[in-house]
Symmetry: C2
């Protein structure tokens, strides 16, 4: 194949991924179908097979794009001289991304079957572990670096960045999943009842006085318009 083929072929793949994500968010995972994804770019089912070899790899590509977009959103959170406030901004951005792209978020974490397929642990390893797709690691690295900054600015009793990051991730992940699953009842409320107090505990354990942490979080909440 000539080098020019990489261009148009990649463009078609990107259009397929974009179409799949569009269908996913608008019609749920059951709307992601070979016929509809193909029709969305003016083609037939074969487009999915020639470019991805089947729905399975398209779903993986969708997850990669989802993590890539998440990383881009998190990168846009600026670093100030208050790393605690920065990290809570990051948590709010994470939650907002998850809520505004809840179907995509589910696919990213292997919790949704789209087109008859879901992200398998082996695909997760490609994204988060030792694999060749960097998107998931990039997103997590932003959390990790934020935690590093908090610990570095703390009193020295802040613990290990990796385990603290994983705890934060677990809490946020559980929170958003229960929230948009309807397990908390009406939404928005749960930011104050769950995310804020959880973040306070975690940030304080990274070596900062509880009152200072509370102030930093309160500032962010006010800035972002959370009553």
């Amino acid at each position: 194949m000539s080098t020019r083929d990489l261009g148009p072929a990649k463009a078609t793949r990107d259009r397929l991924v974009a179409a799949a994500i569009r269908l996913l968010e608008e019609g749920g995972p059951e709307a992601v179908q070979t016929r509809r994804v193909g029709a969305e770019i003016g083609a037939s089912t074969m487009a999915v097979y020639t470019h991805f070899g089947g729905m399975k790899n398209l779903v993986v590509a969708v997850a990669r794009e989802g993590f890539s977009r998440l990383a881009r959103v998190m990168e846009n959170v600026p670093a100030t001289d208050d790393p605690v406030a920065d990290m809570f901004e990051l948590a709010l951005a994470y939650r907002q991304y998850a809520l505004e792209n809840s179907q995509l978020y589910r696919v990213m974490f292997g919790l949704s079957v789209a087109g008859g397929h879901r992200l398998a642990p082996v695909d997760v390893d490609e994204l988060m572990g030792t694999g060749r797709y960097p998107e998931g690691r990039e997103a997590f690295a932003l959390v990790y670096r934020g935690v590093e900054r908090i610990i570095a600015a703390g009193d020295g009793a802040g613990g290990e960045p990796l385990t603290e990051s994983l705890q934060l991730w677990s809490g946020a992940h559980g929170h958003v999943l229960l929230e948009f699953g309807g397990y908390f009842g009406p939404p928005e409320q749960s930011v104050h009842t769950v995310l804020v107090p959880l973040a306070e505990k975690l940030f304080a354990a990274m070596g900062h006085p509880p009152e200072a942490v509370r102030d930093s979080i309160r500032t962010v909440l006010a800035r972002r318009g959370y009553a």
Copy 2:
């Protein structure tokens, strides 16, 4: 209908639910099919429709049974004079149930499509909110009561039981989902890196000295054989 009909009819429904759960755990959500569930009890697809009106309600019944079993597992955790240790036992039991019934757990929380259907928010409200199915509320009540006991035994600065319970639930939920999704890498490890430190922070915030909390948790870990 005569009153005797409630017996055999209910028995058939229970057998269908049991068959669906068996297929679910053994073959994943895609193995829960009208033809297979019917064949499992020696009947045809119509059994699902006469007794549940379709796959949708069977999935709801599966989720109810899942929460009912979870509540039974959690009830078997005895109450001692150390409510902090009791609650960590509860957390370990919750995690163990989730891992040993990971497919069922996903269905319970609306994260898995079985037989073309998944638990919708309206079904969640029936289980966890204002609805007529008590199974989900029963399971959560066991967490809530455990938190109440911890706060009552604490120094009085323990916070509000409901919000503390929701934080605990979020952390545990996120932890088990990331764990059996493969996002933590090798399992077992994450009990020490995530669940234990998260529980320490949460229990301490319920009004207990960090050292006492750590001791209680260490005792439980030793008792349960976590290296």
